[in-house]
C-alpha cells in the first residue's frame, strides 16, 4: 500500500497532514517489512512493543493540528542511545537486560516532536568496529548484498534504513561509524561538528571523538534530523552554544587533498565539478599520514577509561567469583567481547607509567597538528572532498581475523574525528564486483560549524 522505498520525511509529513494515511498505517507498514525481511538482515536487536501506541499518540497530535515535520516519523535508534525504560545494551553481553533510567538528550528532543521509535539497532559492541561483526548478538547483513557487511559500528541503523525498515536512523560516529555504514549501504550519513549534538545519554566510547548523527536516504532528511537534535545542552559540558554555528557562503571553493585525489570515483567527480565552473584547489594536510596511528593511540586510551564503569557491580551482568575483587575480573572477562578487551588492553598500555609520554602525550601533540592542518586548509577552501572508504562493502568474515587490517579501512574517516570538523557521506558512484553493483560514498568535509555547506553542496551533488 504505502511505497516505503521512495519516502522522504517531507513526503510523509505531507501525507500525514493530508490524511492520505495515518502514522499508525505507516508504522504498521514498517513493522510488516521488518517481519518479512529482518530475519535475514538482523538490523534490529529489538523492535519495541509500544510502536503502535507511539504511532497512535502521533496521530492524535496530527489531528489536533500541532504536528511538526517529524511527528509520526519512524526512527531506528542505535543500541547505545538511552531511551528511558527500554533496554539498551550497546550490543554487549554485560548490558544484556540493562533497563535504562533516563532519556538521552537527543531522544528527549525527538520525543517532543512525537516521532515513533521503532526499535534498537545492532552495532559493533560498544561501538568498536567497522563491520558490525563485533556485536555480541550476531552479525547484521547488508540489505544490498546479504553476503556483505553493512559497515560499522552503526551497521544495524544503516541496514534498517537501506532495508526500508525505518525512514531514518540515529547512529554514533567516533572514527567513521555513521559515515562508513552509510557509504556501504548507499545512504547519507552525517557526523556533526564535535559538540554540535549533545552526548548526554549516549554510552561513551571515546569522549573527545564521539558524536551522534543521522543516517538517512537523502541529504534533506539528514538535515531535518540534525536540526532537531542539535543544540547546547547543560548536561554535556562539551556541547557548543548555538551561536557558534556559522552561516551559508555564496560561492564555495572546493578542495581535494594532495595524494588522496587519485581514486577513480574522486577523479570523476573532480572533472564534473571543474566542467561546472567550480573553483577547485589542491590542499595539503602534511600530518594526515599520522592520523590512524594517532587515532589508535588516543581512542583505546579513552576507551579504557570509559569501559571501567562496566564491572558488574552497580548495573549490568555480574559474574560471581570467590570474593569481591574476583567479581570484577570475571564479570569483565565474560561480559566484554574480544575487540572491547583488545582496545582496553591497548589503552591501558599507552596510559601506563613509562609509556604515557611516548604514546598518549605524543598522540595529543600530533592530534593538534592535524587540527592545525585542517584550519589552514579551510582558509583556502570551504569544503574538502575525499572518498568515504577505500572500497565498497567487504564480505562478512573477510577482515575480522586481522584487527590492524580492519583499522586501516578507516583511513578517510578517522582524521575528521581527530579534528572535530563536520563531515557527511553521500552516495556517489558504484563498483562492480562479480554481478553486483555496490555503492560507493564520497565524503564532504567542512569547517567547524559549517554543516550548512555540507547540506547545500550535498543536495547539489544528489541532483547531478
Amino acid at each position: 500500500m504505502i511505497d516505503l522505498k521512495n519516502l522522504t520525511i517531507k513526503k510523509v509529513h505531507e501525507s500525514l497532514i493530508n490524511g492520505e494515511y495515518t502514522a499508525l498505517d505507516l508504522s504498521s507498514a514498517y513493522l510488516e517489512e521488518i517481519k518479512n525481511k529482518d530475519k535475514d538482515i538482523h538490523a534490529y536487536l529489538e523492535v519495541y512493543s509500544d510502536v503502535m501506541e507511539q504511532a497512535k499518540k502521533a496521530d492524535e497530535i496530527i489531528k489536533s493540528g500541532k504536528a511538526t515535520i517529524l511527528t509520526g516519523i519512524p526512527i531506528a535508534v542505535k543500541d547505545n542511545i538511552l531511551i528511558k525504560g527500554k533496554i539498551a545494551s550497546s550490543a554487549s553481553k554485560i548490558l544484556e537486560n540493562y533497563k535504562t533510567t533516563y532519556d538521552a538528550t537527543v531522544i528527549e528532543k525527538l520525543k517532543k516532536e512525537s516521532v515513533v521509535f521503532i526499535g534498537r539497532t545492532n552495532m559493533d559492541e560498544f561501538a568498536m568496529g567497522g563491520s558490525t561483526e563485533n556485536s555480541a548478538y550476531g552479525v547484521t547483513k547488508n540489505p544490498l548484498d546479504l553476503e556483505r557487511v553493512p559497515g560499522g559500528s552503526s551497521g544495524g541503523s544503516a541496514a534498517a534504513v537501506a532495508g526500508n525498515m525505518a525512514l531514518v536512523a540515529l547512529g554514533s560516529d567516533t572514527g567513521g561509524s555513521i559515515r562508513q555504514p552509510a557509504s556501504f549501504c548507499g545512504l547519507v550519513g552525517l557526523k556533526p561538528t564535535y559538540g554540535a549534538v549533545s552526548r548526554y545519554g549516549v554510552m561513551a566510547m571515546a569522549s573527545s571523538f564521539d558524536q551522534i548523527g543521522p543516517i538517512a536516504k537523502n541529504v534533506e532528511d539528514a538535515e531535518i534530523i540534525f536540526n532537531a537534535i542539535k543544540g547546547f545542552d547543560k548536561n554535556d559540558s562539551t556541547s557548543l552554544k548555538d551561536s557558534e554555528f556559522k552561516i551559508e557562503k555564496e560561492q564555495i571553493k572546493i578542495g581535494f587533498i594532495k595524494d588522496l585525489d587519485t581514486d577513480s570515483n574522486i577523479v570523476d567527480l573532480k572533472n564534473k565539478l571543474e566542467k561546472k565552473g567550480y573553483i577547485i584547489e589542491l590542499v595539503e594536510l602534511p600530518n594526515l599520514k599520522y592520523a590512524l596511528a594517532t587515532y589508535y593511540t588516543l581512542v583505546p586510551a579513552e576507551v579504557s577509561s570509559n569501559m571501567a564503569r562496566y564491572d558488574g557491580m552497580r548495573f549490568g551482568k555480574r559474574v560471581s567469583g570467590k570474593d569481591g575483587i574476583e567479581d570484577y575480573f570475571l564479570s569483565r572477562q565474560t561480559g566484554l567481547g574480544r575487540e572491547v578487551r583488545r582496545r582496553i588492553i591497548l589503552g591501558t598500555y599507552v596510559l601506563s607509567a613509562g609509556y604515557y609520554d611516548a604514546y598518549y602525550n605524543k598522540a595529543n601533540i600530533v592530534r593538534n597538528l592535524i587540527r592545525e592542518d585542517y584550519k589552514k586548509a579551510f582558509e583556502k577552501v570551504d569544503v574538502i572532498i575525499t572518498p568515504t572508504t577505500p572500497g565498497p562493502a567487504f564480505k562478512i568474515g573477510e577482515k575480522i581475523d586481522d584487527p590492524l587490517q580492519l583499522y586501516l579501512e578507516d583511513i578517510f574517516t578517522v582524521p575528521i574525528n581527530l579534528a572535530g570538523v563536520p563531515a557527511i557521506s553521500i552516495p556517489y558512484g558504484t563498483k562492480k564486483i562479480g554481478d553486483k553493483e555496490l555503492p560507493l560514498g564520497i565524503q564532504l568535509i567542512a569547517n567547524y560549524g559549517d554543516e550548512e555547506i555540507l547540506f547545500t553542496f550535498g543536495k547539489y551533488l544528489e541532483e547531478r
Binding site: G195, Y290, T294, R314, F315, G316, Y328, R332, Y349, L369
Partner: protein, 94 residues
C-alpha cells in the same frame, strides 16, 4: 618486544580475567598495533603549546545540591545485580 607477562600485568590493571589462550591471542594481536602506532615517534615534539585533548572550557554550576533525594532510587535499585533494603550488595573485598 611484548611478552605474556606484560599482557598479564595490563589485564590485572584493567581488571579483566583472561585464559591462557586469550592472553596468547591478545599478545599476537596487540604487538603489530603497537608497532604501527609507534611511528608517532617520528613526529618532532618541538611543538608550541601543551598537548590538548579537545577544547578546554571551564563549565561550572552553582554550588548547590542538584539532586532530588529518592527521585531515582527505585529505577536504579532495579538495575542492581544484588541489592538489599535499597542498598547495593557486594561481596567482601578485603
Amino acid at each position: 618486544m611484548l611478552e605474556i607477562k606484560d599482557i598479564e600485568k595490563l589485564a590485572k590493571l584493567a581488571r579483566i580475567e583472561l585464559t591462557v589462550e586469550e592472553k596468547e591471542k591478545l599478545l599476537k594481536e596487540v604487538e603489530p598495533i603497537l608497532g604501527y602506532v609507534a611511528q608517532l615517534k617520528e613526529v618532532s615534539s618541538m611543538v608550541e603549546g601543551m598537548p590538548k585533548a579537545g577544547e578546554h572550557r571551564n563549565i561550572m554550576r552553582d554550588d548547590i545540591n542538584p539532586n532530588v533525594a529518592t527521585l531515582n532510587t527505585e529505577v536504579l535499585v532495579e538495575d542492581m545485580p544484588e541489592s538489599q533494603d535499597n542498598y547495593l550488595k557486594v561481596k567482601k573485598i578485603l
